[in-house]
Every structure is written in structure tokens, then in C-alpha cells.
């Protein structure tokens, strides 16, 4: 929903990726979100991640629900098909799309209202099914488009801009995703691109349900003293369990880091997530330990960010269903229609 045309300037010395594309190929229209919106930083990180991974934009399907965050797919990957569905129900549309063509990359973009309130069920079930996707929640704890109501991720006791106190317990999507079997779970902060971009890259390459909860302050309605999702609050309470790099499969793995401080995690496709461990005791492969770790820090009012859990051998919905390797949408008459002769046999069996 952009009224301003984006200038088509391309700097002659702009960096290009292995496809010969510049970042401009990964951009969309100009954002109409409020200046300073965390969501725009996330769009920027998505652009950077896809650019650096040298993925052809048209091989990506970007899907969203309704809300500020769900508007963002317009602002990146202009060469991709996008689908702005209905409030809270992006996951089912993405699941169906993924069933039809397993060869595309699926990026689901959602918000905390979209995924933790109206769409909590669909969020949960898409994770549970192991849909091969990157599911990003741009989490600001507030409804922006309807001007400032609490969402289900708003912390108990936090204050709205109008001064109302939230009395309900918050839903922690990261814990939920982990409990439901997501095979890649991370949390990050829109203001921390150094952490977010490698996380996005790793999640894009992950062959299973990858979930990233990105805390993304709402400058208009939730960036004030009483909010626990403001820029200031998040900067003060963020504890990163790890810093990481993402090394695509085609690149040689470097050995720049001293042994004992670096952990290379190979994913199913052979690509590697390189963790810079700042929390020495943090084990991202142990789902139960990760959940306990999260809860313990949450009790202290700390938000743990980084790659929180990774299953190195994920399965996805297609492997559960045993579907053919060829995308279902490419099958033709011969593969699909049993024909008249088979029908005659059916008729004969029904007499």
C-alpha cells in the first residue's frame, strides 16, 4: 500500500552477489510504516539475508496475515509472489502452498496479534506439522493498526500508551514453538542486525519448521516507559546466548575462530551455523535444557536471544506424508487420472 514510487537508482558500485544481483533486487516498495518501526529493520535484515544467500527472489513465496507486520512482505523481495491472507490464518495458507510446491522457499511473516492471539491455533499447528518454512513473528506486544491494544505477548503488568495495565499472562511464542516441535527456534531483536541476519540465513536454509521471534518495538504505541517491548527496555534486558555466523554450503568453512569458543552446527542440507558461544553452558541441541534455560531467565526478567534450539536432522511435513519429490503442482493428467479402464474395474466391483 505504497503511494510513493521507489526511486530506481542503483549505485554503479553496489555490491553484487553470486547471481549478479544487488540488494535492490531484494527490495520491495517503500514502507508506509511509522518512521523508526522495528518491522522496517526486520525487512532490511530479510533483504540482506536473501541477498547474501544469493537466492533468486522468485523462488520465494512470502505469506502473511493481517496487521502492521503482515504489511511488510510488500517492502521486500518485490520479485516474489506474495500473499496477504486473513488475520491469523497465514499458517494454513502457507501449509497449503507448501504442499503444492515443495521446491519454493516459504517465508511466513506475522505479528504477535496475528500469531499469539487470533492465529495462535494456526501458528501452533503449522509448527507441530513441521512445515518447511521460516516463520518470523515481528513481536511488539501491541496492536498497531487498531491503535494500541495489548496483544497476547504483552507482559503482565506492562503499561499501554494510554496507561492501562495488562493483567493477563503473556504467551511466549518461543517456548510454545519449542514445545510443539519446531526444529529451529531463535529469538532476536530488530535492533540487532548482527545477530538477526545470520539467524535468518540459517533459518531460510533449515529444512523444517524454523521459527524466529523478533522483538520489534512499536514506536507509535509501545515505546514508552511502562512498556517491556520498548527499545530501551529490550536493550537493557537482552541476554544473547550466542552470536553466530551462517556459512552456506557452497562456501568453504573457515577456521578463523579459536577452538573452544566456536561451535559449527551442520544443518540437514550441509550448511553450517557457526555459534560464538558467549554462554558457555548453553547447549542449543537439547530441547529440554533450552526450555529450562529460557524459563529461568524469564523469571529474572531477562530475554534470551540467539539460536535457542536446533535439530540437526529435521523432518518436514512432506517427509511425514511421504510425498513425491516432484512438486504436486507439476503432476499432469498421466500421473493424476487413473483413466476409464480403472473406472470400469471400479464399476465392476460395485455390482
Amino acid at each position: 500500500m505504497t503511494y510513493i514510487a521507489k526511486p530506481k537508482l542503483n549505485h554503479p558500485q553496489a555490491a553484487i552477489n553470486t547471481l549478479g544481483f544487488t540488494r535492490r533486487h531484494y527490495e520491495g516498495t517503500i514502507s508506509t510504516l511509522c518512521a523508526g518501526c522495528g518491522h522496517d529493520s526486520i525487512s532490511g535484515a530479510i533483504i540482506q539475508a536473501f541477498f547474501e544467500l544469493s537466492i533468486e527472489p522468485h523462488r520465494v513465496a512470502k505469506l502473511s496475515g493481517i496487521g502492521c507486520s503482515s504489511k511488510t512482505p510488500t517492502y521486500f523481495l518485490g520479485g516474489s509472489h506474495g500473499f496477504n491472507s486473513v488475520h491469523g490464518r497465514m499458517p494454513s495458507v502457507l501449509t497449503g502452498a507448501n504442499l503444492a510446491n515443495r521446491d519454493l522457499i516459504y517465508l511466513g511473516v506475522s505479528g504477535d496479534g496475528d500469531s499469539a492471539s487470533i492465529g495462535f491455533g494456526q501458528f501452533a499447528h503449522s509448527i507441530r506439522r513441521g512445515v518447511n518454512m521460516l516463520y518470523v513473528v515481528e513481536n511488539n506486544g501491541v496492536y498497531g493498526l487498531t491503535k494500541g491494544q495489548f496483544s497476547a505477548t504483552a507482559d503482565q503488568g506492562s503499561k499501554s500508551k494510554k496507561g492501562a495495565i495488562n493483567s493477563d499472562s503473556p504467551i511466549d511464542l518461543v517456548s510454545v514453538a519449542m514445545q510443539l516441535g519446531a526444529t529451529f527456534v531463535a529469538r532476536s531483536f530488530s535492533g540487532d542486525k548482527t545477530q538477526l541476519v545470520p539467524l535468518l540465513k540459517a533459518a531460510i536454509q533449515h529444512k523444517g519448521a524454523a521459527f524466529i521471534d523478533v522483538l520489534s518495538p512499536c514506536v507509535a504505541f509501545n515505546n514508552h516507559g511502562g512498556s517491556t517491548k520498548s527499545y530501551d527496555y529490550l536493550r537493557e534486558h537482552n541476554e544473547a546466548v550466542n552470536r553466530l555466523d551462517f556459512i552456506p554450503k557452497r562456501e568453504e568453512i573457515t577456521t578463523d575462530y579459536a577452538p573452544g569458543t566456536v561451535e559449527d552446527i551442520e544443518q540437514h542440507d550441509g550448511s553450517v551455523v557457526r555459534l560464538h558461544k558467549v554462554a558457555e553452558d548453553y547447549d542449543p541441541y537439547d530441547r529440554i535444557a533450552a526450555m529450562n534455560y529460557l524459563q529461568a531467565h524469564a523469571a529474572r526478567g531477562e530475554l534470551v536471544t540467539g539460536l535457542l534450539y536446533l535439530d540437526r536432522e529435521p523432518e518436514d511435513l512432506h517427509s511425514h506424508l511421504g510425498t513425491v519429490k516432484a512438486p504436486l503442482n507439476t503432476l499432469g493428467d498421466k500421473e493424476l487420472c487413473p483413466g476409464a479402464k480403472a473406472l470400469d474395474a471400479i464399476n465392476a466391483s460395485l455390482r
Binding site: 500500500m1 505504497t2 533468486e56 527472489p57 522468485h58 523462488r59 513465496a61 505469506l63 512482505p73 510488500t74 518485490g78 520479485g79 516474489s80 509472489h81 506474495g82 500473499f83 496477504n84 491472507s85 486473513v86 490464518r89 499458517p91 494454513s92 495458507v93 502457507l94 501449509t95 497449503g96 502452498a97 507448501n98 504442499l99 503444492a100 510446491n101 521446491d103 519454493l104 491455533g121 494456526q122 499447528h125 506439522r129 512432506h318 506424508l321 511421504g322 510425498t323 513425491v324 519429490k325 504436486l328 503442482n329 503432476l331 499432469g332 493428467d333 500421473e335 493424476l336 487420472c337 487413473p338 483413466g339 476409464a340 480403472a342 473406472l343 471400479i346 464399476n347 460395485l350 455390482r351
Partner: protein, 614 residues
């Protein structure tokens, strides 16, 4: 002497059973054996919404003439459920027969004087032979089938052959079933005067007809129609569509080399998710469908509106049941007509198809995928419980191998490479139907944004009034185009000129066919038109215009199709007289003929009163 009903190949037998007692397969065996004798049968499951221990009925109409609608009335009641004894006995026609388990004899006061009572100590016989509790229960059913075969003169070989087919490869089960069958038959032949007045005689009146359920047929239609994605949520009476689709797919849709599935079936978490998945898959170029019933349609409304406005194909098989709300979940109605035709908010109109029987459920479901792709819109296959959950005799399913999947207007990579201009909502052909691309088609062009908000011809967000109106008008044009694509109504041939017409649709068809004859016997000649699709074909308006009075037979309270006709067509509502049946049981010819006769009588009386000036 007590009157006894006598008929050959023309009677109704009703089985009153306890749900969960394993009677279903015995009762089907009974119906099928008569069909194997070449005599048409029409069985119906009549069951309240419960799981186990409560009543269930199975009613079999035997009709040499081939009438497949429910007749109404019962000539022989097989009363196996003490709970419903009183109402079952009451239902028997005067001169009819009651067959019951006399292990515990009933006092005379529990019978009627005008019926013939045949008591057989089924439990005693069973307990004498079997020790296992489950066997005692199951074989009791086979024993009564054996007894009925003697009482009604059903060919025992036909039944034995059916048992052999059912238990092929399971010799122990086969032998014990045959033994139970013969035990029942021998007892009846020794103790009763066989046959009773109601008898079966072999005929050749079934021909090459087949016997199958509409839900299974619709599922097969989805296979033949090229559906690869099915997302559903369990709901009576539609659940067996998805279950049958899975069965058919496992048989027909495996990649030979790997055994991998060329299909994906998801039992979704609810109806909202199931239609969402259907829409996502169809947006991405797979043929996809869901099967549901009225409450599911209610839940899907928002998504259906999205699919209409964003122009995404979807096939929704609505197996209608009694509403509103939970209504009568296991009874039949045609009461989702309006909620489907105008599903969702804003100005919407959807394509509806009305199959009359399992054969058409197959045919129209297969076609629905072509319609959905060609029109890029949701298509509703309006089945109902009567078609969906009963085995029905119908013409064999047929398929023309030269017919190829029609994916409608899809812009391919080659077309885009050749420089064909693409605008997602451009009406290039003037039929209201634009071109679409599947995601991932082309690196440089063809990508667009799909959204439920309004947009311009190039799919760009636009709240401009003229863009919105152009879009909405094009959708109307597309709906108009649909009329020329969808199946035309079927005219019921009539040799005598008449000014009275009858219109009907869906599962009413077999009862209506019979009603034409009943009406004729009463000296009432009517023309018939079976509507098969909405938007209405031009023949529908012509039919109404060509008659002075048109009855519209429906199985709902509010004459929903009549409302649709009045809203969508230029016709005089006063000409459309509703004939409505909505107690949850399938409509009967007797009801239709009776209602039309009564309404015509009332009209005549009114006309005479007017002529007399009072």
C-alpha cells in the same frame, strides 16, 4: 382372517437395530443380495447422532420398477431394538409383518392385531452355538438375514456369494458366516410358512447399475479431477469423503518407482485451517479441495470471501445436513443453499453444483476442479447426507480418456518470455476471467501480490473507487460467463402440454421421478426441470416463463433456492410455489405428489370462489 400384505419385488423392510451391534454389514448384505437378483433396491441409513448403544435404523425399499426415492411406510419391520419397540411396531403398515427376537416372548399387548408377528428366538439360537460375546452379537445379525432369505424368498446363493466375496482369503470367517446364515434359513423354513406375502423374484431390472455411496463417489471424482491436496476437518456427514479420497489415492496415486504419494491429505485443526490450506495450495497451482457440512461452511466464510475476491480456485464439497446450528447432524436437508451462494461478507456470489446421486457426485466433483481453475473462484458441490452416506443404485461411472485437465488461464514462463503482457486482474478476453501465474514461474516477470484488499488491474493495492468498481463489475461478468460453462438443467420429458411446471434439484431427484408418475395417475400433468447449477442457466428462466405456475421442491424450511431465483432472476415470485420437506428424512414421492395435488386443489378452489364472486 387377518389381512396380509402381498407383493412381489415391491415393499419396504426396515431394520431397527442398536448402534454398535454390528448390524450394518448384515443389513447391507440383505440389500445387496436382492440387487444381485436383479431387483433394484434403495437402502437408507437412518440414525440419530450417537456413537454406541442407541437406536439406528436401516430401511430398504425393494422396487422392481426402479424407484429409488424413499417410499415411506414399512411393510416388514425387523425389530431388534427393545428401546424403540413401541414406535417401530407403530410404523408397520396395516397387514404388514413384524419379525422379532422371541427369546424373551412379548405379551400380546405389545403387538398389534392387524399385523403378522414372526418371532424367532435369535439370542437363544445364537447362545446355543457361540460362546464368545462378540460372536453372539455379530452372528445374531447373520442368522436373521438367513431367516429373512427364507421368509422373503431371497436367493440363498446370492447371499452366500456375497459373503464369499466379503471374506475372500479369510476362510475361518467365511465358513462361520455361512454356517450362521444357514442356521437362520433352516430354522425359518422349518418353523414358519415361507415365503410370506412379500417376496422377491429374480428379474433383470438392475442392468449394469452400480451400488455406491455419494461420498465415496465424490472422492473418486476428486481423484479423476486431478486433486492433489485435500485438507479437511471431521464432521458428519462429510468425513467419509476425505477418508475415501485417501483410500482411492493409496490405490491410484503412488509413484510406481518409489511408492511415494502423489497426493497430500491433511486433517486440519479446524475448518478455518482446512479451507486456508485449500486456498494456499490452489494459489500455488495444485488442485485442492475440502469436504464439510453446514457448520464447517459457517466457519469458512472469511476465507471463502478471500478466495472470491482474490480469485483463487477452491473446491468445497458440502454434504448438507439438518441445520441451523448443530441442528440434526445425522439427518438430511438442502439448507445450505443460501449460505453457500452468498458465503462471506460484502458482495459475493458463488458457483453451486447440485448432484442428484453418486454418479453425478463423481461427475460434478471431477468437473468442479475444471470450473474452479477456469473461473478462478470457489466452487461448491452441494451434496447431502442422503446422497453422501447411503449406498445408492446409479448408472455406472464413466470417464472419457480424451478429456484433459483444464487449468484455465495460466500464464506460463514461455508466454512471459515471449513478452505476453501480464496484469493479474486484466480482463484481456472480455469474459471477466484474468490470467494468473503460479508462484515461482519466472525470474523477472509474472510475480504479483495476492491480497483480500482491493486492488487495481495490475494487482497493486488501490482504494480508488473506480478501481474497486471495475474489479467488482468484472467479477460479475465472470459470474455471467460461468452460466455458459456450467451444466445445463435437465428437462423431464412430458408428452402432454401443460402450464404447470416443477423444478427441483439434488437428492430430490429420485423421489421426483416417481412423483411425476403419481401425479399423472391423479390426472395432474406437470413439466419438470432439474436445476444443476447456480448461476442459473437461461433455460431456468425460460422454463418459468413458459408455465403459469411452477412448483419448487426443496428440502429446507425457507425455500432457499426460491429466494435465490427471486433475487437473481427476472421472474414473478408469485409464480413460484414452494413445496418444502424438512423433517430430516429424505423426501418421498408421496409427499411431493400429495403437496402438489393439495396446492393445486386449493388453487382451483380459490379460482372457483373468485369466479363465483366470493
Amino acid at each position: 382372517m387377518k389381512k396380509q400384505l402381498a407383493a412381489v419385488n415391491d415393499f419396504v423392510v426396515k431394520f431397527a437395530n442398536v448402534n454398535g451391534s454390528g448390524s450394518a454389514s448384515a443389513n447391507t448384505l440383505f440389500a445387496k443380495s436382492i440387487m444381485r437378483m436383479g431387483v433394484p433396491v434403495s437402502p437408507r441409513n437412518i440414525f440419530p447422532s450417537n456413537i454406541q448403544g442407541l437406536p439406528t435404523w436401516y430401511e430398504v425399499r425393494v422396487s422392481e420398477r426402479g424407484w429409488l426415492g424413499r417410499r415411506g411406510g414399512v411393510d416388514l419391520m425387523v425389530a431388534m431394538n427393545p428401546q424403540t419397540w413401541n414406535e417401530d411396531v407403530k410404523e408397520i403398515a396395516a397387514g404388514g409383518y413384524l419379525f422379532y427376537d422371541s427369546t424373551k416372548p412379548m405379551p400380546a399387548s405389545k403387538f398389534r392385531d392387524d399385523i403378522t408377528v414372526i418371532g424367532m428366538p435369535l439370542t437363544q439360537i445364537c447362545n446355543r452355538t457361540y460362546t464368545d460375546a462378540r460372536q453372539r452379537q455379530l452372528f445374531k445379525n447373520i442368522i436373521y438375514v438367513g431367516a429373512l432369505s427364507a421368509l422373503l424368498d431371497i436367493d440363498p446363493e446370492a447371499i452366500k456369494k456375497l459373503i464369499a466375496e466379503q471374506y475372500r482369503g479369510k476362510e475361518a470367517l467365511l465358513d462361520s458366516n455361512i454356517k450362521a446364515f444357514e442356521m437362520g434359513r433352516d430354522y425359518a423354513r422349518a418353523e414358519f410358512k415361507c415365503p410370506i406375502g412379500l417376496r422377491c423374484e429374480a428379474r433383470d431390472a438392475v442392468g449394469d447399475q452400480i451400488f455406491l455411496e455419494g461420498n465415496s463417489a465424490a472422492a473418486l471424482g476428486a481423484v479423476y479431477g486431478g486433486a492433489t491436496v485435500c485438507a479437511w476437518y471431521p464432521i458428519t456427514p462429510s468425513s467419509s469423503v476425505a477418508e475415501a479420497f485417501e483410500r482411492h489415492c493409496k490405490k491410484f496415486r503412488r509413484e510406481p518407482e518409489t511408492g511415494d504419494a502423489r497426493f497430500a491429505i491433511i486433517q486440519a485443526e479446524d475448518e478455518l485451517a482446512s479451507i486456508g490450506m485449500v486456498i494456499g495450495a490452489a494459489w500455488n497451482g495444485s488442485r485442492s479441495f475440502t469436504a464439510t457440512s453446514g457448520p464447517g461452511i459457517s466457519l469458512m466464510q472469511e476465507f471463502i470471501g478471500l478466495a472470491y475476491f482474490a480469485e483463487i480456485p477452491a473446491v468445497i464439497i458440502d454434504v448438507q445436513r439438518g441445520g441451523p446450528s448443530t441442528g440434526m447432524p445425522t439427518r438430511t436437508q438442502q439448507s445450505d443453499v443460501l449460505s453457500c451462494a452468498y458465503a462471506s461478507h460484502g458482495d459475493t456470489k458463488h458457483v453451486l453444483l447440485f448432484p442428484e446421486d453418486p454418479r453425478e457426485a463423481f461427475e460434478l466433483t471431477a468437473l468442479a476442479f475444471d470450473y474452479a481453475d477456469r473461473l478462478q473462484t470457489p466452487i461448491f458441490v452441494m451434496s447431502d447426507l442422503d446422497i453422501g452416506m447411503n449406498e445408492r443404485l446409479c448408472k455406472p461411472l464413466s470417464w472419457d480418456d480424451s478429456k484433459l485437465i483444464d487449468r484455465g488461464k495460466v500464464m506460463t514462463e514461455e508466454m512471459l518470455d515471449a513478452g505476453t503482457a501480464f496484469g493479474r486482474y486484466l480482463d484481456v478476453d472480455g469474459d471477466g476471467i484474468p490470467y494468473r501465474t503460479y508462484p515461482g514461474t519466472h525470474p523477472k516477470s509474472g510475480a504479483y501480490f495476492t491480497r483480500g484488499t482491493t486492488k487495481d488491474r495490475m494487482a497493486k493495492y488501490s482504494e480508488a473507487g473506480p478501481d474497486y468498481i471495475e474489479n467488482m463489475e468484472r467479477l460479475l461478468k465472470k459470474f455471467e460467463t460461468a452460466k455458459s460453462i456450467l451444466p445445463a438443467p435437465v428437462r423431464h420429458a412430458n408428452k402432454v402440454a401443460t402450464r404447470i411446471g416443477v423444478m427441483y434439484y439434488g437428492s430430490t431427484s429420485p423421489a421426483m421421478e416417481e412423483a411425476f408418475e403419481l401425479l399423472q395417475e391423479d390426472g395432474i400433468v406437470v413439466d419438470g426441470l432439474r436445476i444443476r447449477a447456480f448461476p442459473f442457466h437461461e433455460d431456468v428462466e425460460k422454463f418459468v416463463a413458459a408455465h403459469d405456475m411452477v412448483f419448487l421442491v426443496e428440502q429446507n424450511r425457507d425455500a432457499q433456492l426460491r429466494t435465490l431465483l427471486m433475487t437473481e432472476c427476472e421472474m414473478d415470485p408469485a409464480k413460484l410455489t414452494p413445496v418444502l420437506h424438512y423433517d430430516g428424512t429424505p423426501i418421498t414421492a408421496r409427499f411431493i405428489a400429495g403437496a402438489i395435488g393439495a396446492k393445486l386443489g386449493a388453487k382451483n378452489a380459490q379460482a372457483q370462489r373468485s369466479a363465483a364472486g366470493n
